[in-house]
């Protein structure tokens, strides 16, 4: 029963759940709280899980902690939208601003594996110019990493995650073949393709982190996708390639300890201003894990919240915050959609929701707004679809019930749109406290004029695409948001960024960040592959620094 996963920690007494085998356990190395490990990592998603594996594989001692439970997908995940709410981060938070963000399944996870347990698996690379968007495109801020270097780490991430993608990708510089072949298109994806062809723009099969053929390695076997369609509510067959199924097993095999139900509430600093470890809540009590380095990988809300909640006499504004930028420049990605009705049943709930994609508008600079967007095929489940009809049309009563009957006939495309960084959009601390007694995050967000202009443009283009396949009763779903970014900006200058290109704090050299909060700009693509790539790069850099003796009290 999955509820057991939330009652008491499962990773203990020298063993941890083996999610690749029914009822399986694997041996796990354990560290005492008083043992000063090389790295304690907060969060086990695309950033933290990947780092735990790669650092342990290089021989570092690693303890990774996650506030969520350690679920066993093949035994415990239901095909049910409501029952699976337990994998989202639904703890208390405050949202405000002119456009309060919708938080939950679209942008936050609480489980071993983080949000990758329920991501839609869309695995895309940034457009190269976005890494220098300020210099080359005139907006946002430059990344401190060159695109060619990222290209190398993207390829590495795609290989390690066995991404299934098209033979050739229509946009951007040449890239190698995807490791696995693309998935078959479902009805919704076929219609996206038809709409693109008829309106004269390119489309392709979406590169996805779900297997299109069986996979086997030393840690176990995963089957190919069976197209059951509940991807965003947790994959119950392990076809999904996530931090939970790929990097956590590797981390354990390499000697990392991974602690579930371990909520980190505060990072401690010593007399020299260095981080000394983390206070964490597990098994009903607060404990303290000593560490030579602390890496925070809690995503764009929980990472700044932890740094702000760790304020002390020496760092009264929170850790790593001499720039004053911790929590600022929060970005989301706009997620507006257009829907219509087909005479033929589409049954878009079958298969991963986003089997086809058009990145056309990410590579077009002739618009009256900055940044770009893509759109993806859609496959809403029944409750989500009811949410679209109540949200976009305000329907209820018999009118709602009637329109819901067209569920199988609906087709839609949804944008993932870049929003621009703005310091007024930010994460701060509210006065409310959560179940651990910690101040909760206040998330302030308003769309800017550029963001609104892009959404208008996208709605118009998506409408043309849905119209081109002869859908009827076309309507817009203008209000929705998804992924987050920003809040711990990486950069080359300590006055305008919080961390450097390696995710290392300018102020506290043994404090690091590795997740989507590093992004100076979010681009118009789903962020997970970029986070994986940053984590792989960062692990490699840490190995190099260690060899050169550039790590604090930590030399391999």
């Amino acid at each position: 029963m999955w509820s057991d996963a939330l009652n008491a920690p499962r990773a203990r007494d020298g063993k941890a759940p083996d999610v690749l085998h029914q009822g399986g356990w694997v041996e796990m190395r354990e560290y005492r709280d008083t043992e000063e490990v090389d790295f304690v990592i907060v969060g086990t998603g695309a950033g933290g899980g990947t780092l735990a594996a790669r650092l342990a594989e290089q021989g570092f001692s690693v303890v990774a902690m996650d506030a969520g439970g350690w679920f066993r997908p093949i035994e415990e995940f239901a095909s049910d939208e409501t029952a699976q709410e337990m994998i989202y981060w639904n703890d208390h938070r405050v949202t405000d601003g002119a456009n309060p963000l919708t938080m939950g399944g679209n942008n936050s996870g609480k489980a071993i594996g983080g949000s990758t347990v329920h991501y839609a698996m869309v695995a895309l690379r940034f457009r190269p110019e976005w890494f220098k968007s300020r210099t080359l495109l005139g907006y946002g801020a430059d990344w401190p990493i060159d695109w060619r270097e990222m290209w190398h780490w993207y390829a590495e991430a795609e290989r390690q995650l066995s991404i299934a993608g098209p033979l050739s990708y229509p946009w951007g510089p040449k890239r190698g073949r995807y490791p696995f072949r693309a998935h078959e298109l479902n009805g919704a994806a076929k219609l996206l393709a038809e709409g693109a062809q008829k309106t004269g723009i390119e489309w392709t099969e979406t590169p996805l982190a779900t297997l299109s053929a069986p996979y086997r390695d030393a840690n176990g076997t995963s089957p190919p996708c069976v197209y059951r369609g509940f991807c965003r509510f947790g994959c119950s067959t392990n076809a999904k390639r996530s931090s939970l199924t790929v990097f956590i097993p590797r981390a354990l095999a390499a000697g990392a300890e991974v602690r579930d139900l371990a909520m980190v509430g505060k990072i401690e600093t010593g007399p020299d201003g260095r981080a000394t470890g983390v206070h964490y809540h597990r098994d009903g009590e607060w404990r303290f894990q000593k560490a030579k380095n602390v890496i925070v990988a809690g995503y764009a809300v929980e990472t700044p919240r932890l740094l702000l909640n760790s304020a002390n006499d020496r760092f009264p504004d929170g850790l790593a915050n001499s720039s004053g930028l911790v929590g600022k420049n929060l970005m989301t990605q706009s997620n507006s959609a257009v829907w219509g009705r087909m005479d033929t049943p589409v049954r878009s709930y079958k298969g991963p929701p986003s089997l086809a994609i058009s990145e056309h508008w990410n590579y077009d600079d002739n618009n009256d707004f900055h940044g770009g967007y893509l759109w993806l095929g859609q496959g809403p489940m029944p409750i989500e679809w009811a949410g679209v009809l109540t949200g976009a049309k305000g329907l209820w009563g018999d009118a709602l019930r009637e329109e819901m009957r067209d569920y199988n006939h609906m087709v839609g495309v949804k944008m993932v749109g870049e929003t621009l960084p703005n310091e007024a959009n930010r994460v701060t601390l509210a006065d409310d406290v959560d179940q651990y007694g910690l101040k909760v995050a206040r998330i302030t967000f308003s769309y800017g004029d550029n963001d609104k202009a892009m959404i208008d443009h996208a709605l118009q283009q998506m409408r043309a695409s849905i119209d081109a396949v002869d859908a009827s009763d076309i309507f817009d779903q203008p209000d929705d948001n998804c992924h987050l970014g920003g809040t711990i900006r990486m950069g080359d200058d300590p006055t305008t960024s919080v961390v450097n290109a390696d995710g290392r704090s300018w102020d506290i050299p043994n404090l690091w960040v590795c997740d989507g909060s590093l992004f100076p700009t979010v681009g118009g693509v789903n962020p997970s592959l970029t986070i994986y790539a940053l984590a792989l790069r960062m692990a490699d850099r840490i190995g190099e620094m260690s060899k050169r003796g550039e790590l604090y009290r930590c030399r391999m």
Binding site: A78, Y349, M404
Partner: protein, 201 residues
């Protein structure tokens, strides 16, 4: 529910749905008065659902947890919002008709909800909560989600339903797996479709 014991439903799915259908039919979160008001509200948002009554699912959800854990400037956390919301609805009904919401006729109930949905002033006591936002976030956000979590609702809209570990095989536009219901029109006339659907398990 015919597919409950097939390869389409794994054990966690069976447990989740069994628990949902056997939800206690009495208030544990709401008071009796609040339950009556919420019940009337559920009947208005999704008419004609008797078993299980949606108010029982709502009460259970609020009893078990605080739901989507976000509050805004105008709508508090879910438990507080719902308690405040149903009491405010009752106060509206008393203010304009002299009796609680559940005792109004359907037309008066609908008219009141429409007023709230349009953001017009009501005769009730809403405190710091914004009625229109409560309606959007909680009433329309939560009640339809309760209904469309039920197998009877999936049948009503033709959703293929849970499919693990079996999955789906026929992804092509207009194609139907044998364990998905046929529909009148694309799959034939009502007699053929009924015959096909007798074997959809």
């Amino acid at each position: 529910m015919a597919r409950r014991d097939t390869q389409s439903w794994n054990e966690p799915t069976r447990q989740a749905i069994d628990a949902r259908l056997s939800v206690p039919r009495e208030p544990r979160f709401f008071t009796v008065e609040e339950w009556d008001c919420a019940d009337a509200l559920c009947q208005l948002i999704i008419p004609g659902v008797i078993d299980p009554p949606l108010v029982a699912l709502l009460d259970a959800a609020l009893h078990d947890g605080d739901g989507h854990g976000t509050r805004t400037q105008t709508v508090p956390y879910r438990r507080e919002a719902w308690r405040q919301g149903v009491n405010a609805l009752d106060s509206c009904a008393r203010g304009s008709h002299g009796k609680p919401f559940a005792q109004l006729g359907k037309d008066d109930q609908s008219a009141l909800l429409e007023t709230i949905q349009r953001g017009e002033p009501t005769a009730g006591q809403w405190g710091a909560m914004e009625p229109q936002d409560f309606f959007k976030r909680c009433v329309l956000g939560d009640i339809p989600a309760l209904f469309y979590s039920l197998p009877q609702a999936w049948n009503e809209i033709g959703f293929g339903g849970p499919a693990s570990p079996r999955g789906y095989v026929r992804l092509e536009l207009g194609h139907r797996d044998p364990w998905e219901a046929a529909e009148v029109g694309p799959d034939g006339d009502s007699d053929t479709v009924e015959r096909k659907n007798r074997h959809v398990v």
